[in-house]
Amino acid sequence: MKRYLRLYGYFLQQRFKILMEYRVNFLIGATSTIVMQIAGLLAIWVVMRQIPSLNGWNFDEVLLVYGLITASESITHMFADNLWTIGWGYVRSGEFDRFLVRPVDPLFHLLADRFCHDGIGNFLVGVTLVVKAMLSLGIALTPLNVLYLIVAILSGGAIFIALNLITATSAFWIVESIPVTQIVFNTHQFAKYPLSIYHRSIGLLLTWVIPYGFASFYPASYLLGRDVGALAWLGPVVAAGLLVIGYRVWQFGLRHYASTGS
């Protein structure tokens, strides 16, 4: 474990050396996603300033949900973006074969190979929204609340990574895995708003099948004092379980990997 941490630090250092070669590109990449976020937020603001609440959730409460999912998503964007590119970047090119002959876990190598700076902007937006919403709503940033937030965002990030890992494994069979990943990943859009606005079946889907609800709706509900029972505390358990499943699926895929031979 210690060795892997040290290795990761080393990979990160090398990656930043590359990124810093082109400073302007780094800055544009790190901030350009903020424009996309502003477009989405401006749309919510335009609508919410005309109505008192969305299904009983006011503007700041919706921002809290939106901010939590954005921060969680940025974790996978920064640290596991290679799960998107594994198909065309590593499997098709034969680059992946190199990982298999090295004395580190191939999955670790894949993830550590590229820290993605494009996620930094989303992370900043997400955290800013969460803090802004909590201040406006008068929710104190007590040590317990801050700890809860950190665990919630990390669990949310782990759920994103695990789901992307499961879908990215399809690259071992079909090479081009992005469409498969995109379809599952995109369901997180539902979790940008309170799940209570949807039909019950969508809420159940986002809780028990593709559990993005634990990345936004349930922690937000807990912080706002809305009763969601044990679901407020289940996030880390779901995340850990999903990571185990994801790693198993990955190993299963790895055993069936036959290089493209290119």
Partner: protein, 270 residues
């Protein structure tokens, strides 16, 4: 004269005929876009229903008008996400731009024909989405053929406006190498100001002014408003005239800027 015209039609016809073949080659991507668009349509339907639980009209629009508009906007939204600048960046980086410029056909006209053919292919491809939205998500389409005509003409005009704007914008690739970031910014601004997320009528005055000053709404909000019962078909001639002015202005501008910018090309011999 006639012979050269026939030659032109043949050349550009062949280019247009390539577009559907290219699209069919990437089948799984088409399915992915279907799934993603259906999801965002479902999200928007529930979102707007929850919004209208508190109000009967917003910005003068009823729930049904807004749902019609938003469903149509979601179906045509990917058309607004043009990334021509990204493509130009690729041409410059790979050095292919030199080959493109020496071809015996007009560089811009070739891309314009491709984009119009792409629009046709896109609409045919997305017919199932129209049907789905109509059958399950409460999309109500007008029976009046005039509304459809107004929609079709303003969509073609609007997409052409967007094409010439993007041509002008893509010329930045001759000056900067950071085309990915620029294209993301362009998509973000266009997504909002085209009216893909919120009907323009609901925006505060200053945002409406901005939306009117930018070309993006011409390609999405303007045509979608005809088909969703927001703009009456009788207003079509006036709307088309405004679009024609946009079109002429951006066409002239895009050609001038391109002829200036192209001198900056330094092919790296890649």
């Amino acid at each position: 004269m006639i012979q050269s015209l026939r030659r032109t039609v043949n050349v550009y016809g062949a280019i247009a005929a390539m577009v559907p073949k290219e699209n069919l080659a990437y089948n799984i991507w088409v399915w992915m876009q279907f799934a993603v668009q259906i999801m965002s349509m479902i999200i928007f339907v529930y979102f707007w229903r929850a919004v209208y639980a508190n109000a009967t009209t917003l910005g003068g629009l009823s729930l049904q008008q807004t749902l019609n508009y938003i469903l149509l906007a979601q179906i045509i939204a990917p058309l607004v996400e043009n990334r021509l600048i990204f493509h130009f960046g690729f041409l410059v980086r790979s050095g292919q731009v030199a080959m493109e410029l020496v071809r015996p056909i007009d560089f811009q006209a070739r891309y314009y024909v491709e984009s119009l053919a792409g629009l046709g292919v896109y609409l045919v491809q997305k017919l199932p989405l129209f049907l789905l939205a109509w059958a399950f998500l409460g999309l109500q389409l007008p029976a009046d053929p005039a509304a459809w005509g107004a929609f079709a003409v303003s969509l073609i005009l609007g997409q052409s406006i967007l094409f010439f704007f993007d041509w002008f914008f893509a010329c930045l690739a001759f000056y900067s190498t950071e085309t990915w970031g620029l294209s993301v910014v362009r998509v973000g601004v266009a997504t909002f100001f085209s009216g893909a997320l919120v009907p323009l009528a609901m925006m505060p005055d200053w945002l409406q002014l901005l939306a009117a000053a930018l070309p993006f709404a011409q390609a999405l909000a303007v045509p979608a408003s005809f088909l969703s019962g927001i703009t009456p078909a009788a207003a079509a001639p006036q709307v088309w005239l405004i679009q024609l002015v946009w079109l002429m202005g951006l066409w002239v501008l895009s050609r001038r800027v391109f002829s200036l910018a192209v001198r900056k090309v330094t092919v790296q011999g890649g």
